[in-house]
């Protein structure tokens, strides 16, 4: 069951609090660092509530009753309730995308020049995690692509270690052709998918 979204004033929530159906839990949808807003569905045995706009909030008072109608969360309430959890939130990662010619584990010249930026990011943070994932386009077999994606990722890993990055903080994975930057049908050559992503935390 989906309840129609309504914008009840905060006073109504206060009244319901006074009336004794006190909410135990609450869920608020907020914009992400890129100011994008997703969606969330909160479901109890009594029903479902959809959050879809920034600041949308629903409360849950029991497992048997439906989540409350959606209201707009008061920014001051958010700041007070979530101050510590928001203050401890990890900073956004620094992400770098490096590109390769077809079938090759050597970087394109433009991407080779970005290695210095990665080292800079590792040093500045100071990084405690560097995740390297290898990717390829949809040309070739699953096995061939997995190996190529892995070899690309390891080539970058070895390069960073050679430049002084602590190998203990590096993890290397192959996504094969399973996580394309630009989705294509199988068999299509797409330079933007022949890449290694480096996420510095």
């Amino acid at each position: 069951m989906k309840t129609v979204t309504s914008c009840l004033p905060a006073a109504v929530l206060m009244l319901s609090l006074l009336a004794g159906c006190s909410p135990k839990h609450l869920v608020i949808l907020v914009p992400d660092p890129d100011l994008k807003v997703g969606k969330a569905e909160v479901t109890t045995a009594g029903g479902t509530q959809l959050l879809e706009k920034p600041g949308d909030m629903t409360t849950v008072s029991s497992g048997s009753s439906p989540p409350s109608p959606v209201i707009q969360a008061d920014p001051a309430f958010i700041a007070a309730t979530f101050a510590d959890a928001l203050a401890i939130e990890p900073l956004p990662s620094a992400t770098f995308i490096l590109y390769f010619p077809t079938g090759s584990t050597n970087l394109t010249p433009e991407s080779a020049s970005r290695i210095a930026d990665i080292l800079d990011a590792v040093l500045r943070r100071p990084a405690i995690s560097v995740r390297i994932s290898g990717h390829c386009d949809a040309v070739g077999s699953y096995q061939l692509n997995d190996r190529l994606a892995r070899d690309r990722a390891w080539a970058i890993r070895n390069l960073l270690v050679q430049k002084g990055v602590n190998p203990d903080i590096i993890t290397v994975t192959s996504h094969g052709k399973g996580n394309p930057l630009v989705p294509t049908v199988d068999g299509v050559a797409e330079p933007r998918n022949r890449r290694v992503e480096v996420i510095v935390r």
């Binding site: 608020i28 807003v37 997703g38 497992g63 979530f82 510590d84 990055v165």
Partner: protein, 147 residues
């Protein structure tokens, strides 16, 4: 920065608090404040920044505690004081097309920010709270769970 000698780079990297991340870990602790603990099987561990987290870990923060966890797909889960969660299910294997992220939030305040699983397989993400489940379709949520 780029002009620093390699020797200095090595020295600086060596002083970072990280420990080697085991291959089966699902993420690590990025930020930490006050008291916190991780229960892994029958062991009770004191967490540190850079330490690995595993599927099944019961993570707690004390009354003065707070913690930020980063999972391998770049999802972040932050806990305010007096909070408790279990990382119940996790799979991040784009090559095989396997994805799952299920956390049970028992109590406290939480900030969820979606990572790559949210982009590649949003329907595989679920937060469970005592009286309800939250199907997360991205990207950032604040969740408060009472006793």
């Amino acid at each position: 920065m780029k002009s620093l000698g390699t020797g200095l780079l090595l020295l600086l990297f060596a002083s970072s608090p990280a420990i080697a991340l085991p291959p089966d870990s699902i993420g690590h602790i990025q930020t930490l404040k006050g008291t916190a603990s991780i229960q892994r099987g029958d062991r009770n561990l004191r967490p540190s920044v850079g330490a690995a987290v595993f599927c099944g870990d019961l993570v707690r923060t004390g009354k003065d505690g707070a913690m930020g966890i980063v999972l391998t797909d770049d999802t972040t889960l932050s806990l305010g004081p007096d909070s408790r969660l279990v990382l119940k299910e996790y799979a991040f294997d784009p090559k095989e097309g396997k994805f799952a992220l299920v956390a049970r939030l028992f109590k406290g305040t939480f900030v969820y920010l979606s990572g790559l699983i949210g982009k590649l397989a949003p329907s595989s993400i679920r937060m469970e709270i005592p009286d309800a489940t939250i199907a997360v379709r991205g990207t950032k949520l604040l969740i408060s769970v009472g006793e």
